[in-house]
Amino acid sequence: MAISRRAFGLGLLGAAAAGTGGYLTLKDRPEFRGYLGNKAHLFGFVGGEKQAFLADPDVVHALGGYGLELDARVAGSVEMVREAALLSQKPQFLWPSSSIMVDLARKSGVPIRNDQVVLNSPIVVYTWGPVVEGLKKSGLVTVAAKGGYNQLDLKALLDAILAGKTWSDLGIDELYGRARIVSTDPNRSNSGFMFAGLVLSLMSGDVATQELLAQHGDQAKAIFRSMGLKSSSSGKLFDQYIAGGLGAEPMVIGYENQLVEWALADPARWQRVQGGVGAKPEILYPRPTVYSAHPLIVIDPAVDRLLEALTSPKLQELAWSKHGFRGPLGTVAGGTDAAIAGVRPAEIEAVLPMPSADVMLALLAQMEG
C-alpha cells in the first residue's frame, strides 16, 4: 500500500484530535469509561456454566468498556456461598446459579450489599429425536400453542418412571428396559439441585413446603436413586449426553443454554448433525419448569459497576445470542444466530418458583440419608 510517512503522521494527528474531542463527551458514558484508563480489577467466584460467557473476547471487551477486568474463579454454586475456605478469600462478588444461594449466603454471614438476577436459564430435558417422537405418540410431549416448542409433562413422566414403565410403554421401541431420566448429583451441582426441587414440587402438587416434603420426599428420593452414578457437574453430564448418544444417555437434565453454546462453538458440526441421518439432540421444556437464575451478589461497592454492565443491553444481547442465557425476567435480548434458529422459544410458559432454602436443605439431607 502506498501511504507516505507524512500522510500517516497527519492521520495520527487527526485521530488524536478526534480522540480529545471524544474524551470530553464520552467520559460520562459508562460503557466507554474503561477504554480511557482506570480499570477496576474485581475478584469473585462464579458457577462453571458461566465460564465460557466470561471468557468470550466480546464479553471481556464489553466489560473493559466499563473499566472492569474480572478475576472470576469457578466454584460450585453451593460451595461458594457456604465454604469457609472460599469465603475467607474475601471475594468482592459471588455469581451462583440459583436465587436460593442468596439466602444461603446470608445464612453464612456474607455481607451482602446488593443482589440482582442478571441471567436466567430454564432447566430443560436433553433427549433425542426418537424419544420425542415416541413421547408425542404417548401424549407426554405436546407442542406449545405459543412458540411451537416441545413441552414435556414432567409429572406424568416421573409417575411412569416410579411405576417402572419401560421405554416401549412410553412409545419408544428403539430402547430396551425401563424409562429413566438422569441429572447431576444435587449435593454437588446446581442443575441436579434445581431438578430435585422441581421433582419434589411436582410430586407434592404445589411448591414444596416442609409438610409436603414429609409426605412426598420418598418419591423424590426414589427418582434420584434410580439414576445410579451421577455426575458432579452440569458440564460433565452434558458432555456425557453428547458423547454417549441415544443408547447411553436417552434423557438428561441440563440448562437450556448448554446446547446453544455447544451448537455455536462449532456451527459446521451443528449443521452436520442437523443434516445427518442419526438421532439428533433435542430440547424438551418441562411443563412446568424452574428457572436457574444467576444472581450477582455484590459484596464490595466497586462491584456496583459490574451489575450495571451485566444488565446493559449490550451484554444481555451477547449473553443471549452467543451463550443462550436469558435476561432477568426470562426474556430474550436481541436476535438469534441463524445457525440455531428455532432451537429455543422466545418465551416459556409455566415456570414454578423453587421451594425455600430450608426445604431444599432438608430435601438434600433426606436424599443423602
Partner: protein
C-alpha cells in the same frame, strides 16, 4: 519489497514455526490395552509437535489404584476404557478435563458356526439365552477378570443388571438377592479363560486359533472384536459373530484426561492440543475405522457395517445404567469372593540356593501378600473358600506339596508352611510343573474350576520341558503355565513354557508381590 528481503522474512518465519513445533515436551500416557491400536495416531501428533511421548498400558484397576495413591500416577495423561474407574478411585480429583474419545460397547463375540448352531444369527439375543447355552454346556467363553479389567467388569455388570430383570439400576440390596447371585454365578461358569487385559485376551484368541485351538466365544469391546476378526479373516479362520445382548450392555467411554504435575504450561497446552487433534474430523475418521463408535459423527465418519459377522457400529445398543460407586465396589468384591468361577491354582516357589537372603525375604513377603486376605482384597485378588490352592516349594526336586482351600484358615496354613522353607539346593522348575499338573488334573470336579500353574523362579533351570509338555498335551484340559521371573532369571525358559501353554510371564524383579497379583488377575 526486494526478493531477498521476502526470502529472509520467509526463512525467519519458517524458523519461528520450527521452533514452535519442536516443543521438546515430554509427555507420558497410561492407557487401557484396547488403545494400543490408537498409539500410532497419537504418536504422529507427538512427532509433528517434536514431543517425546511414552505409552504405558495397564488394566483399569491398576490405573484406578494408581490414582488413589496419595502420590498418584506418574504419567501426564490417563486414558482408561471407562470414566467409571476415575469416578471410583480419583478421590483427590487429580484428573482434569476428562473427555470421551469414543464409545466402546462390551459385547459377546461367538464363533460363527457356534452362533448358527445356537440359532443366534439374525435375531435378538438376551442374557437369558446366553445363560441357557452355558447351562446346557453348549457355550464357554473368554472374559477378562471383572475386578482387574474394564471389559470383564462391563460384561459382569450387564449380567447383574439382566439378572435383576431390567431394573433401572443396581442398588446395594440387589447384590444380596439369592436369585441374582445364582444366575450370575451360573453365567460365570461359562468362563474358560480369564485375564487381566482385554488386549491380551484377544491375542490369546487369535494365537490359539492359529495353533488350531478354537474357543467358542469372547466378551470384549466391539472394536476389539473387529480387530480380532480382521486378523482371523486374514488367517482364513472363522470370524466371531457379534452378539449385542438385547437387554443392555455396558459401554466404555474411553476418556482421556490430564494429570497436572506442575511441569509447566507447555505440558498442559500439549494435552489440550492433543485433545483437539483427536477431535478433528480426519482423526475421528481414523479412530472410527478401528470399529469405535463416534456418536454424532454420522455415516461419513462411522466405520461401515460388516453384516457377515453382524458388526454394526451404527446399531443402537441400550446401555445399562452404571450404579453408584459404592455399589460397583461391592459388586466387584462379590465377584471376587463369591460369583466368579473358583480358581484351582498350583504355585511353584523356587527355594533354590540362589534365593538366599534377599530372594527368600521377598518371596516370603509375596506369600504374606498372597495369603493375607486383608492385603489381597485391597487389590481385589483375594481367595475364596471355594478356591483350591497347591503350594509346591522346589529346588532340584519338589520339596513338599501343601494343599488348602482358600478360606482364612487354609491360607494361614499355607503361609506357615511357606515360612518354614529356606533357600538351598539346585533348580528344576519342570519337575515342579509336572507335579503341579498332576495335582490339578487329579482334582475332583475339575471342570468347575479355572486352573493355572504359576511358577516363580530366579535362575536357570535344569531339566527339560519336553516331558512336561508331553504330559501337558495329554491332560484332560489345557492348564496355562504362568511365569514370574525374579533376580537374573532366564526369561526364555519361562517364556517358551508360557507360549506353549497360552499363558504369559510377569517380571517380578522390581515388585515380586505385584507380579503375583498380576498373575492372579489371569486366574
Amino acid at each position: 519489497m526486494p526478493k531477498t528481503l521476502t526470502s529472509v522474512l520467509l526463512m525467519a518465519f519458517a524458523m519461528l514455526l520450527a521452533a514452535c513445533n519442536s516443543s521438546n515436551v515430554k509427555f507420558s500416557i497410561v492407557s487401557g490395552s484396547e488403545n494400543t491400536v490408537l498409539q500410532p495416531i497419537v504418536q504422529e501428533f507427538c512427532d509433528k509437535q517434536g514431543a517425546t511421548c511414552t505409552f504405558a498400558y495397564e488394566g483399569s484397576l491398576d490405573i484406578g489404584l494408581g490414582l488413589q495413591r496419595p502420590a498418584g500416577l506418574e504419567q501426564d495423561a490417563v486414558w482408561p476404557a471407562s470414566s467409571v474407574w476415575v469416578d471410583l478411585f480419583d478421590s483427590g480429583r487429580k484428573v482434569r478435563n476428562l473427555t470421551s474419545i469414543a464409545q466402546m460397547p462390551v459385547i459377546l463375540g461367538v464363533r460363527k458356526s457356534k452362533a448358527v448352531e445356537l440359532g443366534w444369527v439374525g435375531r435378538p439375543v438376551f442374557m437369558k439365552d446366553i445363560l441357557a447355552a452355558v447351562k446346557d454346556g453348549k457355550l464357554k467363553f473368554l472374559m477378562t477378570s471383572a475386578t482387574q479389567s474394564n471389559s470383564g467388569a462391563s460384561a459382569y455388570l450387564a449380567m447383574l443388571s439382566s439378572a435383576l430383570g431390567g431394573k433401572e439400576v443396581i442398588e446395594p440390596g440387589d447384590l444380596d438377592n439369592a436369585n441374582v447371585r445364582e444366575t450370575v454365578s451360573a453365567l460365570l461358569q461359562g468362563v474358560e479363560r480369564s485375564s487381566g487385559s482385554s488386549g491380551w485376551l484377544a491375542d490369546l484368541y487369535v494365537d490359539s486359533a492359529s495353533k488350531g485351538t478354537v474357543y467358542d466365544a469372547m466378551w470384549n469391546y466391539e472394536a476389539t472384536l473387529k480387530e480380532t476378526d480382521d486378523k482371523l479373516k486374514q488367517m482364513g479362520k472363522e470370524p466371531l459373530y457379534a452378539v449385542y445382548p438385547a437387554d443392555g450392555v455396558a459401554v466404555g467411554d474411553s476418556p482421556l484426561g490430564f494429570i497436572d504435575h506442575g511441569r509447566g504450561p507447555e505440558v498442559e497446552k500439549f494435552f489440550t492440543d492433543l485433545l483437539a487433534y483427536l477431535q478433528t474430523d480426519a482423526v475421528r475418521k481414523r479412530i472410527a475405522d478401528t470399529g469405535r463408535r463416534l456418536p454424532l459423527g454420522g455415516s461419513a465418519i462411522q466405520a461401515a457395517a460388516e453384516p457377515d459377522w453382524n458388526f454394526d457400529p451404527g446399531k443402537l445398543v441400550t446401555s445399562i445404567r452404571m450404579p453408584e460407586p459404592a455399589v460397583i465396589r461391592k459388586a466387584l468384591d462379590l465377584y471376587q469372593e463369591a460369583l466368579r468361577k473358583p480358581s484351582l491354582t498350583a504355585l511353584c516357589f523356587d527355594f533354590s540356593g540362589s534365593m538366599e537372603d534377599q530372594g527368600e525375604k521377598q518371596l516370603q513377603a509375596a506369600a504374606q501378600f498372597l495369603f493375607t486376605p486383608e492385603k489381597a482384597s485391597e487389590v481385589l485378588v483375594q481367595w475364596t473358600p471355594s478356591d483350591r490352592i497347591f503350594v509346591l516349594p522346589f529346588d532340584s526336586v519338589v520339596r513338599a506339596n501343601f494343599e488348602a482351600t482358600g478360606d482364612a484358615a487354609g491360607q494361614a496354613q499355607l503361609l506357615a508352611a511357606v515360612a518354614g522353607q529356606h533357600a538351598g539346593g539346585g533348580t528344576d522348575m519342570y519337575a515342579c510343573a509336572q507335579q503341579a499338573l498332576q495335582q490339578i488334573t487329579a482334582t475332583p470336579g475339575l471342570l468347575k474350576y479355572l486352573p493355572a500353574i504359576i511358577i516363580m523362579t530366579d535362575g536357570r533351570t535344569d531339566g527339560s520341558a519336553d516331558q512336561f509338555l508331553q504330559q501337558w498335551r495329554s491332560a484332560p484340559l489345557r492348564v496355562p503355565v504362568f511365569g514370574i521371573t525374579f533376580g537374573d532369571a532366564d526369561k526364555s525358559q519361562l517364556d517358551s513354557l508360557a507360549k506353549a501353554t497360552s499363558a504369559r510371564v510377569f517380571d517380578g524383579s522390581g515388585d515380586l508381590a505385584g507380579a503375583f497379583r498380576a498373575a492372579r488377575g489371569y486366574n
